[in-house]
Each structure stands twice: as C-alpha cells, then as structure tokens.
C-alpha cells in the first residue's frame, strides 16, 4: 500500500482517534461492540468526508501541544475569575481597546486556533481576521497597555502554536 492510497484510506488519523474516543464517551460504554462500531465510524466518517477537509493537520510536537492545552485551560479558568470581577465592578473603570495583532502564522487552521484561543482566554475576543494584511483584530475588555498585551499574546499563544503545527517539515 503506497502512501497516497494509505493517506486516502485514512485521511485524518488524529481525527479518527479523537472520534473513537468521542463515540465511546457518547455511548457511555466501552464494550467490544462499541469499540468495533466506534472504530468503524471513526474510519468511515473521515473517509467519506475527506473532500470537505482536504489538508490534514500534523502535530509536530505532541508534548508541546499538551502543554499548550493545559496552559490555555489554566488561563481560561484563572483569567475568567478576573473578568468576572471586571464585569461586576464599576463599569466606568474599564478601559476597552481594539488591538491589531500582526500574524506570523500562515495556515488557516493555526490562525483559527490562535483566534479561538484569544477569544477563550479572558479579556480578549477576536473580532476580525484579515488574511491579506495579516493581522487579527482583537477587542480587549480592559487593556492597560495595548502594546504589552499584543506582545504577551504573541509570545504566550502564537509562538507555541507555530511550533506545534507549522514549524515541522516543509
């Protein structure tokens, strides 16, 4: 089996594994029947929908990815508390700002991940993406220093993402 047909037969291995896990979680059961059925579906669905998602994502550094994931989760939880305080606090003290974050990332997928990460972590929401000009427009709820926040985002989220997904081969 050459690599092309192999790739066609199993277009998204990672997705397949993920889906199998999902299936087992959904059916709330780990019987053999569910493994078989889930395994079949985890193969069949990506196979039949591959036309919809042609480029496959490759994680170059899985451990970094895991670390990044935990980081983001942590950020979500901790900083959410801050936002809660901000929301409940006096409204007039908030210092909102729009920020343009210049992008080093090139791929749709990673940019999307970055944008979503920014949105999920507190205080910032990605409201626009300009691919040609290469920046994300982010709204911050309470930004003391615009430049610092941009730099923080770039180092905290963009760089790891670039390493995980885009710096692999090519």
């Amino acid at each position: 089996m050459n690599s092309v047909t192999y790739k066609k037969l199993f277009p998204h291995k990672l997705l397949s594994i993920f889906m199998l896990g999902l299936w087992l979680a959904m059916s709330n059961s780990i019987g053999l029947g569910q493994w078989l059925l889930g395994g079949f579906l985890a193969w069949a669905i990506p196979y039949f929908t591959q036309a919809f998602w042609p480029q496959s994502m490759v994680i170059a550094k899985p451990w970094l990815a895991l670390r990044f994931l935990l980081l983001v989760l942590w950020d979500i939880v901790i900083a959410n508390a801050q936002v809660a305080v901000l929301i409940m606090g006096p409204r007039q003290k908030l210092q909102p700002a729009f920020m343009r974050i210049p992008l080093e990332l090139k791929q749709d997928f990673t940019i999307t991940l970055l944008a979503n990460t920014i949105s999920l972590t507190p205080g910032t929401v990605t409201v626009d993406l300009q691919m040609e000009e290469g920046y994300l427009l982010v709204h911050g709820l309470h930004v003391d220093d615009v430049e610092a926040t941009i730099a923080d985002i770039k180092s905290r989220y963009e760089r790891p993402l670039k390493e995980i997904f885009e710096c692999s081969k090519t």
Binding site: V77, V125, L137
Partner: protein, 119 residues
C-alpha cells in the same frame, strides 16, 4: 452518595451557576457591544463547563461506572463559543456599532486618531 461528593458537586454547580449569571449580567449591564461580548463568551461558557463537571461526577457516582458523555457538550461548547463570538463581533464590526468613546483604536475611526494606533 457521600457528603463530600455532594459538596464537591454542589460547589461545581454553584460556581458554574454564578459564572453563568455573571456572564449574563455582563451582557446586561456593560456599556457597549464589544464589552458585552466578553461576558457570554467566557464566563457563561465556563459556567456551563463547571456544571458539566458537576454532572459528570454526579452521574458517575449514581450510575454504574464513569459517565463521560457530558464532556462532549463541553467540548462542543469550547470549540464553538469563540467562533460564535468571532462571527458576531465581525458582524458588529461591519455594522460599526457605536462604541464607548474611551475605547482605543476603533477600527473605523482609524483616520481620525491614528496616533494611538498599534502596529
């Protein structure tokens, strides 16, 4: 179900509930759209997350074996919430909805106060 479990679940639930309420409060009381956007996107999502954890513990304790399927809901929410926020924000941006005056770098006012501009 033992009392510690109950307390844990209760904590998760109440915390989640409070976050959800705060998110909605933010939506209700903040001054402009872009500020309001933050509340639901995060607080509410996190709140639901908390409740889902509570639920997972609850059902894992009451039914036989672990019950993970609620996790799927949280997964979906965390995947979709930022995209929702993005697309609504984009719409607002497109419509150039009035912002609080103190907002810096309002994109459609770039010509007038370029001084503060980033990049």
């Amino acid at each position: 179900m033992n009392i510690y479990l109950e307390v844990t679940i209760s904590l998760f639930l109440l915390l989640g509930g409070v976050f959800a309420l705060i998110g909605s409060l933010g939506l209700a009381r903040l001054q402009d759209f872009f500020m309001r956007l933050h509340g639901p996107t995060k607080a509410t999502t996190l709140g639901v997350g908390g409740m889902i954890i509570g639920s997972i513990i609850f059902f894992s304790a009451t039914e036989a074996g672990l019950s993970f399927h609620e996790l799927l809901i949280a997964l979906f929410l965390f995947i979709t919430a930022p995209v929702s926020a993005h697309i609504v924000g984009k719409a607002a941006l497109h419509r150039q909805i009035a912002c609080e005056e103190r907002t810096r770098n309002i994109p459609w006012q770039r010509q007038s106060d370029n001084s503060d501009s980033t990049s």
